[in-house]
Homo-oligomer: 459 residues x 2
């Protein structure tokens, strides 16, 4: 009898599990089919990149993107759409930069671009000085006075043998962020930084830098130079350690400007006070159209809510899409969203960010406790048909990260990362860098995971 009882329990449980599982796999299949056959993400991305274009915080284009985002979300039939005001930094590149290496045979043009937040070179004639090549800010600290009067050339490449390119980025980006501050402190007159790029090419990669609390008068101009020009400069310095470099840039920081996060909500049917957020950042750098960074994340996040509607899935919990403003040079949008959420005591149980490009999705990185992670791992088999296999610990994103608590789940989409730094913050981050299917697979993958969180909640 006892044996039979156990058998019964086993069979019942098994059947219940199978049915749930079947329901989930059916719903997930619906998301993928709808995204691949009838998706809207690529059409949105085409408009955002080609009709609006680059949209640096504080720019007219950023404002256009805000209006476009609100308008498109309003068409989706969500329960609420609104703008959340936030003050953002306002920096402009000015006229195109010029630069060259002074070699014994003459000037060799070097493709450069000012780093975001940099000051201009002084006067009409730009800056010319001898170059001192280093691998890190630590090396500059050690050199101290030896950098005085010179242009410090940070030339540490991204580490090509790291499989995950974001780790290689993490290992190299410190020289971009802190390079000018540290070099300036020791009397350097400028800082140029090898582009954060695993390829050798002619595109300089911009990105944010910081002077910390350096007084205005002591700020030195800083720019990224292309990887090929970095190699060239390195070779010249091997032959002639007194090689000089010239650059001129007219960038400028203006007073903070008003802007907005754009928010849409599908209100939950059962637990409306539990919030699930999905988002990317609406701002981009100014050199191109911000297609991979982060137009892709924006349209994927919008597509998640559209897929919920199109497949007829009504969420139990409140699902919000947030188009964050100013991730690139301040994260003011992410901080403000979290501040208001805290102020209103909104219970954010889950937040997902897509800000690693629109390439083929491989999985996610989760910032959560062990119990929630164990639950997530149980869902892994549901994703196998879609070749989604990375369920890593750690991750999240610079916008949703501000929502992190001890109990909730903050996570980020992890697309294939091999090509990302070919485009990141360059003049070639355009629509044609994004593959429609890869973008659509990402959106469906995000919708599927948020569906599971919505249905089962967190622990």
């Amino acid at each position: 009898m006892k044996k039979l009882f156990y058998l019964f329990v086993f069979v019942t449980t098994s059947v219940v599990f199978s049915q749930t599982d079947k329901q989930d796999s059916t719903q997930i299949k619906k998301f993928y089919n709808a995204s691949l056959l009838n998706g809207k993400s690529y059409q949105w991305l085409t408009h955002l990149t080609q009709d609006i274009g680059g949209r640096l915080s504080g720019s007219a284009n950023a404002q256009k993107a805000v209006e476009w985002g609100k308008n498109e979300l309003e068409k989706l039939g969500l329960n609420k759409v609104w703008l959340q005001p936030v003050m953002v930094p306002h920096w402009e590149r000015g006229t195109k930069e010029e630069a060259y290496i002074v070699t014994k045979k003459g000037r060799v043009t070097a493709p450069i671009c000012a780093l975001g937040g940099s000051v201009a070179t002084k006067g009409r004639n730009g800056l010319m000085a001898e170059v001192i090549e280093v691998q890190s800010v630590k090396e500059v600290e050690a050199l101290g006075e030896k950098v005085r009067g010179k242009i410090v050339f940070y030339n540490r490449p991204m580490q090509a043998d790291l499989i995950r390119t974001f780790r290689a980025y993490g290992g190299a980006v410190g020289q971009r962020f802190n390079g000018a501050r540290v070099a300036g402190k020791h009397g350097a007159v400028g800082a140029i930084v090898r582009s954060m790029n695993l390829r050798l090419d002619d595109y300089p990669h911009t990105g944010v830098m910081s002077y910390g609390d350096t007084p205005d008068a002591q700020k030195i101009p800083t720019a990224a130079i292309s990887t090929l020009a970095s190699e060239r400069l390195h070779k010249e310095l091997q032959v002639n350690p007194n090689t000089r470099f010239y650059f001129k840039q007219s960038c400028k920081t203006f007073p903070d400007a008003p802007s907005f996060n754009v928010i849409g909500e599908l209100t939950g049917s059962t637990f409306p006070d539990e919030y699930i957020v999905v988002g990317g950042h609406l701002d981009s750098w100014d050199l191109a159209e911000g297609a991979q960074d982060d137009g892709a994340g924006i349209v994927q996040s919008m597509e998640v809510l559209r897929l919920f509607k199109e497949t007829g899935y009504r969420p139990k919990r409140s699902i919000r899409v947030v188009l964050f403003m100013n991730e690139e040079n301040g994260s003011r949008g992410g901080k403000e969203y979290a501040r208001i959420a805290e102020e209103k005591k909104e219970n954010h149980i889950v937040a997902l960010e897509s800000d690693a490009g629109g390439f083929t999705p491989r999985g996610f990185g989760f910032n959560c406790n062990d119990v929630n992670y164990a639950q997530i791992l149980k869902w892994k088999p549901l994703f196998e048909p879609y070749l989604i296999h990375v369920f890593a610990r750690g991750g999240g994103g610079s916008d949703v990260g501000h929502l992190n608590t001890d109990d909730n789940v903050i996570f980020g989409l992890q697309p294939d990362s091999q090509r990302y730094f070919d485009f990141h913050h360059t003049a070639i981050d355009k629509l044609d860098a994004v593959n429609k299917r890869e973008l659509e697979l990402g959106a469906a993958t995000m919708a599927s995971m948020l569906y599971l969180f919505d249905k089962y909640g967190i622990k």
Copy 2:
């Protein structure tokens, strides 16, 4: 005592296993580092695509590629390098094709390309006829006489909701291969086929077709038309079912031509009579440079042997790289290699093919028995750090497939497949479609798996 004995056995086994495992993971790390930091695959691919270019069987370029391949393999310090003669089909496209749709408003140019093996349109004036649109050869069989005097337009799209794009290709390619044969049998005067492409664009995709045993006089010309032109033609036919289409092509089949497989061997130290093959195909279509198809597979296969040499791993078994000739329109090279292997009673225990593009490697598809598959699955954890996760049953490749026996392991590299059919058999299959890192990761992945087969053998 007994208890202690078991403990001892357990500990010993565990240590032995761990050491082996550590040795393997160390060797695999060496392959990845060498490929990513000091690889030769991309340099080879640059030469093969940009200095040699398209290399259709029987062409002068195909012969150049043979000589280049032999020359490069000879530089690697292998034990043997040789050419294996094989007669191949020789078809030429002739002058560029022309085509247009006759609409009520005038002619609309349609990008087309003759399918490999097609006859030319007759006479100087090309072929003009009314169009009948179908979805399959089966539909043409059912229509029978209704297609007489018409151009049959096969317009079945690849199925976008299939995650693995090769499955979508498999589901659509029948109309390309058999379309003209079946249409001609029922009196059609020409056959045009929607390109095997998941995107909407202006590039026609060529590929092989067959007339079967159709007598020469009854062969009708056939071409691929771009997906955008297919959509346009479809719309015209909705409005006007008598819409006519014009095309002209001057392609021609010549007598079979002499060519070669290029083979290099690292002779095994312990079991020289057990052969492990790695290869891709050296020929390509003529519209572009054959970068993804299959320049990538060629240079990855060559890189496998170079990585063995560079990392100082001396194989126990004989490892052969085979640059197969004529995969695209005849597979004569693959068949001849297998025929000679059979004749010489060479024991081919393992064969790996890379012919699915040089995109980020995701894993492999194995054609083998259960016992070997179980062994392979044990190696899976060794690949986790490299994000290699697909260990599928089934697969192999059209060249190495001829080596298949009941006992051996035939398998194919499975790269990410989302972008592959954007380029396949088109004018844009050029070097810039290949990402250096993705290519290098594929080569290292192949080397790692072949190292394991070499070290442990098969069951």
